[in-house]
């Protein structure tokens, strides 16, 4: 019996392998995995939120030290290379005495990295990022990995206000700064959308000042629907912290924050929102003098 007679094992094995390859390539060609699905399909995570886990592990040692290393070795250099961000108003966040809420416009996944890049080490170490529970934490692996990198925590954008805001206010009270995108989701076209009142509510509830932040250029780096970032210049402009006034409702305060962020988008410096030079100068004062005899 010769090996090519059609009865031997070698030929059969070859036939099997070939069949398998054919099958795979047929299936491979039949569906395009990267085509968008219609929005009408229910997304299960959105209807029934996953049981709330606030990912406490991510805010404890040694994860914090590990994150510090990861951020300094990967995230910050990468952001620097991709965007070379120009930061204005860093003096407001250099020496934060008490926790604040950073309220920024949201047009891209790059926003978070850009904000973290703009903060000082001290502030960054004590900052958590609110990430949409129904988007990031749909898959537990992804959620935890992102948490390790960016210190995110799940923030529901659909659920009841009181319950969900509770975990945020606990975080604020325990001394964490909170990065919040009050628009709720990434802007489809790069323009600033209407702010949702959660941010005002949270600030009112906890008496936390809100720092308006405007990010320009992130949309060009990685707009919605684009998978990989493209290099491009970005500017992060940080405004003067603002606190809710007495008797100011959360909606009014939210409107004020939204106005401030929109004003930061405009070109010239605005003393009202970014502070006079004297205020900025004082905010930038180093805690201890650098030079000693």
């Amino acid at each position: 019996m010769t090996w090519y007679s059609g009865e031997g094992g070698a030929v059969r094995l070859a036939g099997t392998v070939r069949g398998f390859v054919d099958d795979v390539s047929q299936v491979r060609r039949a569906w395009h995995w990267d085509t968008p699905r219609p929005r009408t399909w229910p997304e299960r995570g959105a209807v029934v939120p996953a049981p709330a886990s606030d990912l406490g592990w991510a805010r404890q040692e040694p994860v914090r030290s590990l994150r510090y290393l990861i951020q300094h070795a990967l995230l910050i250099p990468f952001t620097e290379v991709m965007a070379h961000p120009k930061v204005e108003g860093r003096e407001w966040v250099r020496e934060l005495e008490r926790p604040v809420i950073f309220a920024a416009n949201h047009s891209s996944h790059a926003d978070t990295s850009l904000i973290l890049h703009a903060l000082t080490d001290r502030a960054r170490d004590r900052t958590v990022v609110a990430a949409a529970a129904d988007y990031w934490f749909k898959r537990p692996m992804l959620g935890n990995l992102v948490s390790l990198f960016l210190n995110t925590f799940p923030f529901s954008r659909t659920g009841g206000a009181q319950a969900q805001l509770h975990s945020s206010s606990v975080l604020l009270k325990s001394g964490w700064n909170l990065v919040l995108f009050p628009e709720g989701s990434r802007s489809p076209d790069g323009r600033i959308q209407e702010f949702k009142p959660g941010v005002g509510h949270l600030a009112n509830e906890t008496g936390t000042p809100v720092v308006p932040v405007h990010i320009r250029g992130a949309y060009q780096i990685m707009p919605r629907g684009q998978k990989l970032p493209l290099p491009g210049p970005a500017r992060v402009r940080i405004g003067m912290p603002m606190a809710p006034e007495l008797k100011e409702g959360s909606r009014e305060f939210t409107a004020r924050v939204e106005k401030a962020v929109r004003a930061l988008a405009a070109e010239p410096r605005q003393t009202g929102i970014q502070g006079t030079w004297i205020e900025r100068w004082r905010a930038g004062k180093p805690r201890e003098p650098k030079y000693q005899g």
Binding site: R269, W277, I278, W281, P286, Y291, G293
Partner: protein, 526 residues
């Protein structure tokens, strides 16, 4: 107690002496009996700079304490010297940063809302953001850049005002913001006796029209030398302009001086006398020499221009301009002065890689002349170390290389003007205005990082006195074509140069080597 400067006579046991040679160096043996002039060792810096600055501001000379001059609602302008000082650039923090932070603190306390900070760069190039940040520090930069911290523009028709004429007919102009301020605080750094005093405002914030009044051949030939203000027509002219400025606007002058610790630890051997070189210094020299001999120029340049000098603050004075400047000059002389007895037939100087006008750029041939014959030759009081008609020997590779961004007008100056004539008076008459009014040079000066169109002329005029005084000028190791274009002689080795010089000054000439930098000021006695 640091050693004062010294003059050493070369004998059999004297080690060879270091010559700067652009972005490189040479070790040369001088003839027996030659003199080597060494600068004094760096003075001890002030231990607590902040305290000294606070004290100076609280107890100014012939003026009220700064605090009492500041009030809410006033227009305050701070002006500061640009990056042509000090050389090499100072390791952070720059003294100007420390002074300005104190002033700004006071202004913030007094609630002065309207505060502008202007880089007083005269007709020098605009600095880049990083260069400004280095001078003023991160905190000032992030608070004030770019709307309240900006650079002077001597060609801006809107923002320069004409103030008047001095008794000698010199036009005086000033930056509009400074002229309209209730108080101008000038933060100066005086490295050599030429800087500071009335010259700060009168050139730093002036337009071409104002600077022309004294940056010309006639004035510079009458300045013997401009490193010694009492004998300098340039400074007299600036003083007249400065007094007119003081009549127009209230000026509070702050001057600082630094010691001459010009080289960081890795280049320590450049700082030290050759007799003091340890084995480590010698190894360092050898390593550096090999590197500079082999490496391509651009690479060497990057290394050299990255050096930052560990200067230490030696004095800070504040108050009325003249009173402050007198004290400052005293402090500068205390650091730089070396007593030298008598003149000699030949003076040798090594020209280093850096001059005031080529920070972060190659030193082009015109700037070599400006640095060697303009600046280094002029570091004297009473009279030059070189006798009239003697021979000046410089060492520099003198390559044809220009920085197209910083020195566009220098290229045309070299190719068009020097090809025609090297006589400063003729050059001034025939060409200066054409360069100064060239629209493209004007635009590059205003919007890019280029020196003004007239600047190469000033660089050349600076050397006018030296060229007139010296009987012959020889550049050792220079590119032949370039050196001839400059109007000098070229030699391959120092010995060749001495032989050539003998034809001018006779046999067995006396030789003095000025071991600069670190800089020294030769106090020449009869």
């Amino acid at each position: 107690m640091p050693r004062p400067g010294a003059v050493i006579e070369v004998d059999r046991n004297t080690p060879p002496v270091l010559f700067h040679f652009g972005e490189g160096m040479r070790l040369e043996r001088l003839p027996l009996g030659s003199r080597i002039v060494y600068p004094p060792d760096p003075l001890d810096p002030i231990a607590h700079p902040e305290r000294a600055i606070k004290r100076a501001l609280a107890k100014p000379l012939e003026d009220d304490p700064l605090k009492s001059l500041l009030r809410s609602g006033m227009k305050l302008t701070i002006a500061f010297d640009d990056l042509s000082l000090p050389l090499p650039p100072m390791a952070a923090p720059d003294v100007r940063q420390l002074v300005m932070e104190e002033v700004i603190d006071m202004a913030a306390e007094a609630g002065v809302e309207d505060l502008h900070i202007i880089a007083a760069l005269g007709l020098h190039r605009r600095m880049t953001e990083d260069e400004i940040r280095h001078i003023v520090g991160e905190r000032i930069f992030s608070t004030f850049w770019p709307d309240r911290l900006y650079q002077h523009d001597g060609e801006d028709p809107e923002n320069n005002v004409y103030i008047g004429k001095t008794s000698e007919g010199e036009d005086v102009t000033l930056h509009r913001r400074a002229a309209e301020s209730d108080l101008v605080v000038y933060v100066n750094l005086t490295l050599v006796p030429m800087d500071g005093g009335h010259k700060s405002m009168a050139t730093g914030l002036a337009s071409y029209r104002g600077i022309r009044a004294h940056h010309n051949v006639k004035t510079l030939l009458a300045s013997r030398s401009y490193m010694n203000p009492p004998d300098s027509a340039l400074h007299h002219s600036c003083m007249r302009q400065g007094q007119l400025i003081e009549d127009t606007v209230r000026v509070f002058h702050i001057e600082t001086t630094v010691n001459n610790h010009a080289f960081p630890a890795i280049a320590n051997f450049m700082q030290k006398r050759e007799t003091d070189w340890t084995a480590q210094d010698q190894a360092m020299f050898l390593g550096m020499k090999q590197m500079t001999d082999l490496a391509p120029p651009a690479f060497k340049r990057n290394i050299f221009h990255a050096m930052r000098a560990p200067y230490g603050l030696t004095s800070v004075h504040a108050g009325q301009v003249d009173a402050v400047h007198d004290k400052t000059l005293e402090a500068v002389r205390a650091q730089l002065s070396v007593r030298v007895e008598g003149q000699t037939d030949i003076v040798t100087i090594g020209v280093p890689y850096l001059g005031p006008y080529n920070v972060n750029a190659p030193m082009n041939p015109v700037l070599v002349v400006c640095m060697g014959i303009g600046y280094l030759f002029n570091f004297y009081r009473n009279k030059p170390v070189l006798r009239k008609g003697g021979v000046l020997i410089l060492t520099h590779p003198c390559r044809y290389e220009f920085d197209a961004v910083q020195h566009p007008s220098y290229i045309d100056f070299y190719d068009e003007v020097l090809a025609d004539t090297t006589d400063p008076l003729e050059i001034e008459k025939k060409y200066e205005l054409r360069f100064a009014e060239d629209p493209w040079f004007r635009q590059l000066y205003r919007k890019s990082h280029a020196y003004h169109g007239a600047h190469p002329f000033y660089a050349w005029y600076w050397a006018a006195h030296g060229m007139e005084h010296a009987g012959d000028i020889i550049i050792v190791g220079g590119d032949r074509d370039v050196v001839h274009r400059l109007g000098f002689k070229c030699a391959t080795t120092l010995d060749d140069a001495f032989e050539m010089a003998e034809q001018t000054v006779g046999r067995y000439p006396s030789v003095t080597h000025m071991r600069m930098p670190p800089i020294l000021l030769a106090d020449v006695e009869a």
